[in-house]
């Protein structure tokens, strides 16, 4: 067991050191796609679990493909389909913010920004 412990611990710290070096030297993830502009009425037309758009902090997200993967029950998040959901995302309605990983994951579903004029 001693050899297993030493080998596993060394492998772990090598992995962490590698991640730290790469992570602190790399540029953060940036989306390069052109973002469309959507009005609130556009977002409201996608209000079903299998066709789910949301507005969070001025950006529009298509979460249709993500809903089945969400850790909690789908109905928790489906209530916000087609709506402005900034407060719900920031607090989970229980003063508990989403994790940094969740925020990074959200960016993958970004499709546009809210057009205040449209």
């Amino acid at each position: 067991m001693k050899i297993l412990y030493v080998a596993a611990t060394l492998a772990f710290w090598l992995s962490v050191a590698t991640l730290w070096i790469i992570g602190t030297k790399s540029a953060p993830y940036r989306t390069t796609q052109v973002l469309n502009r959507y009005a609130d009425t556009d977002v409201a037309r996608h209000a079903e679990p299998d066709d789910c758009w949301m507005t969070i902090a001025g950006k529009v997200y298509d979460l249709s493909g993500y809903l089945p993967q969400h850790p909690t029950s789908t109905s928790v998040i489906a209530d916000w389909c087609g709506k402005e959901a900034t407060n719900a995302f920031e607090t989970k309605n229980a003063d508990q913010p989403h994790s940094p990983y969740a925020r990074e994951l959200l960016r993958r579903y970004e499709i546009g920004v809210v057009d205040q004029v449209k």
Binding site: A8, S15, V16, G23, P28, R108
Partner: protein
Amino acid sequence: MDEHASEFLRQTGIWAGWLGGVLLNASLVLMVREPLLARMFGGLERMYRWHHRFGMAAYLILLVHPIALVAATWPTGSSTGWQLISPVTAFPNNALGWIGLGGLMAGLAASFIGRLSYSSWRKSHAVLGPAVLLGYAHAAAYSGVSIGTALLVLPALLSLIWRNLRADGIRAGEPYEVASVASLPDTMEVTLRPLTTPLNVVPGQFVMAAFFDGPDFHGCGEFHPYTVCGVHAHDELVLAIKRLGDCTQHIQSVHRGTAVRLHGPFGTFLQTRGDRRSLWIAGGMGIAPFIAALRAGNVRRQTEFIYSYRSEKDALYLSEVIDQATRQPLLRFHGLELQEDLQPLVSVLQRIEDLPTRDIHVCGPPPMVDAVAKELAARGVPRSQIHYEKLDLRT
């Protein structure tokens, strides 16, 4: 990497965290030193082996937890991965996890250092308890207070509290007092009188004993295992304590009236059913359970008794054993001077023709027990007929 692979790695990371937590729970329950629990698991030694295995398995799986979560983020870029697990991200959530994992790492590292004194080993091992609780705090910080986290935290907390109150603290165990002492070669024989509820001990069992304060004596207050050498009238117990480490060295100067606390009894070493003939093999201090059996009453089965020691003049209870052997018609005794080479003991075993038909009880230092176990296996003795106590129980 496609979305499916990424999601698979993310789920692996999450499940590794939860599974590691469950295995840590199992490990903690298995360190609760209670006689009933030890009996359910086939003895304290076996219970502790599983405690180590579960602890080690939990540690290995928990190492996968952060690495798998990071690997799942690779499609979004390498900097995301480090941000996910960095100790400063979402402070104090990740920091709790890192400190907990670091505590596990340090506690396990110390447990592998063989030359550590018992006292140092216990202190370093005690780090593991808080480390586990910090890990659970990390889980609760991310998943919130729920039935899942409660089911994870409560058994661990209860195990730690139970162990500290019932088995380790100054109020653990039952109160006894040193009634008399007798100095033997390199050993102190101590007779203990119960002050309240006496332990119900049968020959072959051991107790965990901690010596505290008495007239001109300050004990180390650490619980160590000692085999009971005898049970006198009024439930007085006799322990033979050899000079082995700092605490037992100090006990050589214990006085009458010293406060002691006993926890147990543990073990079923000599409790075999049936009427098979027996073979007893004792090495050095391993004589203790057998002398308890001889003092308790007549030997009821035909028994070969091999007692090995470094020299006759230092052999504990040798004259008493020889005297018992002359008075017990079913007992045949073989005394054997033995140094590092265990071959003479193996040669004696080879001369016993009906070995596979006997119940065999072995008690002594680990190298002796291992050498005997190897010879018995080679002779085809079924494992169910071999009962042993190794004199090396870190608790």
